[in-house]
Symmetry: C2
Subunit: 308 residues, 2 copies
């Protein structure tokens, strides 16, 4: 048995993960504030637009993962803070651009008006551009030693770019007109690129900064892909349950609306099984890492059993 | 006398610069094609949108400058090709985003429809994002040794980001409503960030790759800022002359339209003097570098006396 599943788990009761998570999230938030508010030369409106979305709170899943991965490989989480902040900046830029009228045209994000609703489209585009650029500056300048910085920059760029996250976004836009022909492979290919690759780079950057060996690096990479896909499945399942409870809308309604989801393609039960299998495989990959990797196991369990 | 000015110079007759330029431009174009067309995993529409703008031709001023700077410092231009291509990608992304309806709303660029007119706004935004991201991947992965790659990434990001090019774009948008209070300092502050910093990074990256000493690095940096500002002044002067010849429009018409230019703030003669002084200072900075820096001197002269 690679790991024991705990179906009763919630975010507030994930063993020691909760306190570690809060502590790491606090360090990430403090570092993000420092990075985005410090220095001179940034026009105040641009700085305001960047801060508005970057400092909007949230779980900080990606940056905390960088710190957890670094610690699991025996490194100091402090050393991984610049890479952690960089990853959150890339994630935030992608949300700002995704919300634009030309893309998903969203007015709200986490209950607040989206960036372009507050600052206008031009500044929202530029704030996204600036956050993406700042991410690479942080990694290149502040990750040590420099050859690890270069490797992390290459990881992050590959995960975020034309064969990674941006490719996933394009495939997602194209898939909106392809529901009829949709397959699980297509859906998984989209998620792997749209969210999975970036999650993966959290693990690889953390491991690189701890100077982990290549076997550990590739295990953590695969762990990242698995929890990323599982996260997406549970996201889809929460949507269905939430919708069913709140507005009595069934699974097939989503499919009819053209939204490609795991439940609409596989059904609820098979989706749950797929998520469980991915999390079991993720935990299995961590076995050689022993107790230091416990927070990563706890996190995998949280993803499987989260209720929000 | 730091250098002799040659008022009769044109692009076709800049001493040995013309053949060097064409050779370097050819290598840049070939490398850009390789980078943007190679590999798998990039959705074909995204690749098409990226290529459309990246392979649209042009002088390739920025990437050729990277190669010239590297050679002037005794390095191999071949070693500087990844950084050169990266810089052109950053430049191209900035043009794609600047042309968007929410920004300058341009339908034409170099006589062809702008990216979003051909591929739609969503894909244009994403193609810009992907080019910016790919730029950092190239530098981080392909520049050698890795500590130089990290330094170049940091240079490029700082020049392109929230205190560099993006800041200049924001300041430019803000200045559109500020013509009354405009000063040469404000205008120069915009150009220094909007175009000067990126030109500067061409020089610093080329010099770093040649492992130049810090004195040479800072001389080339200052040379870059000077020729960048001079380039902008001659651009403004060409606009005025072009307009005056073609449609009989005088200098003050531009100012009345809210366009902030050197001629509108300083007048034509003082603008010409300012450009000449900047180019003289740029050539003066190159003195310790001897004959290897001749193409950089020729380039400075070309900028001063260009007719297009």
């Amino acid at each position: 048995m690679p790991c024991v599943l705990r179906p009763d788990i919630t975010e507030d009761a994930v063993g020691g993960l909760d306190s570690t998570w809060n502590a790491f999230r606090g360090r990430v938030n403090a570092a993000l504030e420092k990075y985005v508010l410090q220095g001179t030369g940034c026009p105040s409106q641009l700085q305001a637009a960047m801060s508005y979305s970057l400092l909007a709170g949230g779980k900080r899943l990606r940056p905390v993962l960088v710190l957890l991965a670094c610690e699991a490989c025996g490194g100091s989480p402090e050393a991984a803070l610049p890479a952690a902040c960089a990853l959150e900046m890339v994630h935030t830029y992608s949300l700002i651009h995704d919300d634009l009228p030309a893309m998903d045209d969203d007015d709200l994000r986490r209950g607040r008006p989206t960036n372009h609703k507050v600052y206008g489209e031009a500044l929202a585009i530029l704030a996204g551009d600036a956050l993406l650029t700042l991410a690479f500056e942080l990694v290149a300048r502040d990750v040590q030693p420099p050859h690890i910085a270069a490797a992390c920059c290459a990881d992050l760029a590959n995960a975020a770019g034309a064969v990674g996250m941006v490719a996933g976004q394009v495939a997602d836009l194209e898939a909106e007109s392809l529901t009829e022909a949709a397959t699980v492979e297509l859906l998984e290919g989209i998620h792997r690129r749209k969210t999975g690759r970036l999650l993966c780079s959290a693990l690889t950057m953390g491991a690189r900064i701890a100077q982990a060996d290549t076997d550990t690096l590739s295990r953590l990479q695969q762990y990242g892909l698995n929890i990323g896909l599982a996260f997406q499945i549970t996201d889809d399942l929460l949507d269905v349950r939430g919708n069913a409870e709140k507005i009595g809308k069934g699974v097939n309604k989503d499919a009819a609306l053209g939204k490609l989801t795991y439940p609409s393609l596989l059904g609820i039960e098979a989706s749950e099984q797929r998520a469980t299998a991915l999390i079991e495989a993720a935990c299995h990959l961590l076995e050689p890492m022993g107790s230091r990797a416990q927070p990563l196991r706890d996190l995998a369990q949280f993803i499987l059993h989260r209720d929000h």
